[in-house]
Symmetry: D2
Amino acid sequence: MITIVSGTNRPESKSREVADFYKKLLLQNDTESQILDLMDLPADFTFSALYQNSGKNEQFNSLRAIMENSTKYVFIVPEYNNSYPGVLKAFIDGLSYPNALIHKKCALVGISDGIQGNVLGLSHLTDVLNYLGTHVLAQKVRIPLMKKNFMEGEIQDAFIHQLISEQARLLLQF
Amino acid sequence: MITIVSGTNRPESKSREVADFYKKLLLQNDTESQILDLMDLPADFTFSALYQNSGKNEQFNSLRAIMENSTKYVFIVPEYNNSYPGVLKAFIDGLSYPNALIHKKCALVGISDGIQGNVLGLSHLTDVLNYLGTHVLAQKVRIPLMKKNFMEGEIQDAFIHQLISEQARLLLQF
Amino acid sequence: MITIVSGTNRPESKSREVADFYKKLLLQNDTESQILDLMDLPADFTFSALYQNSGKNEQFNSLRAIMENSTKYVFIVPEYNNSYPGVLKAFIDGLSYPNALIHKKCALVGISDGIQGNVLGLSHLTDVLNYLGTHVLAQKVRIPLMKKNFMEGEIQDAFIHQLISEQARLLLQF
Amino acid sequence: MITIVSGTNRPESKSREVADFYKKLLLQNDTESQILDLMDLPADFTFSALYQNSGKNEQFNSLRAIMENSTKYVFIVPEYNNSYPGVLKAFIDGLSYPNALIHKKCALVGISDGIQGNVLGLSHLTDVLNYLGTHVLAQKVRIPLMKKNFMEGEIQDAFIHQLISEQARLLLQF
């Protein structure tokens, strides 16, 4: 099963819109997927689901189970202060170790209002995911200038559309 | 004012112990400092203090004010999944932008039970802090093998002790 | 064909010894491989084989052809100033673009006399290789404290030996 | 003394043009500087000036002396394969250690034909320079889309011009 992680808990996020777009993209490649939206995290998860409380928060456990039961992922990663959102990393910090992500495969999509498309955040996340044993598809897609390049649920720039379509196909073969 | 950030919300963390040690170290250099412990974050801060709720959580605001009113920082950064803790990044994501950290200066200390001393986490954090306008002292200190190298509130390894003492002096001149 | 890149032009390098070890390791998995030693680079390649001289240096072209004709790689990467050797990057800068490395797969081994095992260099190299379209196996192996951990052509530390043996098997399936 | 390093040995490079621009910028701030152009490296320096030959190449030694005798640097760093040029790193690998760069200060400028402005290369170089003891000014400047943003020796984009002018002033106070 492929899980698309919408990488922020911001309400009505652009990340979620891109996740919805990616789900349609995979469907066009005859592949079902599910979206895990960090909006659905329990509000106090950084205290109630980590460390000595690991495994004790049922709402968090249900998200954790989705990650454990998937074999491939797409991470939609908005640029927050030149890296991934802290909330995305805190979610990963709460997964069971070492079995949640080991020997899994994933694709990364960086998004930003600015011109970088979260290039550094994708690099940082690659370090984290590789450490956890998840292979990262070389073809990372960046969507900079989101306000212009992504409107009404669709990628507006033809070249970026080509890149993300190719990424989706490569992930299925990866 | 120098603020020492204990970079995790884990209860009774080693990071806090190292922060306490660093406070003593600065005092030996005739310099007062204060500790900001991420344990004191409101449990639901990733929802109640970010995005549309920025500025609305008084408990979070008081921590934010400490950061804004400081000019130098020491970040004690434990290694979580080959990077900084998500909670530390989420805390930074909640600071006021762009004025909280710009033109400030800091020193970084990485700690780990394993042998890396969070070398990648310090690199990732440097990317974030530089983006926010904070100069990072070149001399980063890593304390690997914490169980052996840090006991009873003191650094046990003579070379690491020398490095961290030098770092503290350099930070005061930075 | 699998090519093992010995990632420095230092004479009688430890990297070459580890490359020889890895070749034996692959053979134990019934797989032939070849070693490309950066010692064999033409001495003036950074001037005679790059930019306007790309393709004009026959000795360099023969090394370039080896890279182009391989589908999997192992990079043995010594730690030089907290990153990969400049010579390794200059060699990659001289490869034909975009076809030399795209859709290829590789495994990374970091080595160092110090305790890091070139963790940052492997991160930097992952950024470069991913950009060029090469998938990097998540399981990166670090051999720190080379003087102790690698003697007489063999890895001395049992745990590192287990990790590198597992890496070799995973690369063959990757 | 401030040395501006033109970070590639490519003939007639854009990096050199940006270095010339930066020299004028510093002069407008009443500060003399000198340019070290990697074009002036001996063609075989990666063999004749490194490892067992360290210190034996007079032409390389003269460049090395310039670095040792400077206290501040500006690095102009073109984007080669998503990082700094291998030649720049090989040059750094040939400097005397640990005294060449320790306790020095520098500013970084990334340039690229594409839209990134070498953001990853500046991150990698920061890791290297911090390791060598050089403080990196937080305010890194990126000049993407060089063909449009830099013409006839001048920065065309008003915002980038403002950023680089501010960087130069901050470096002088750093």
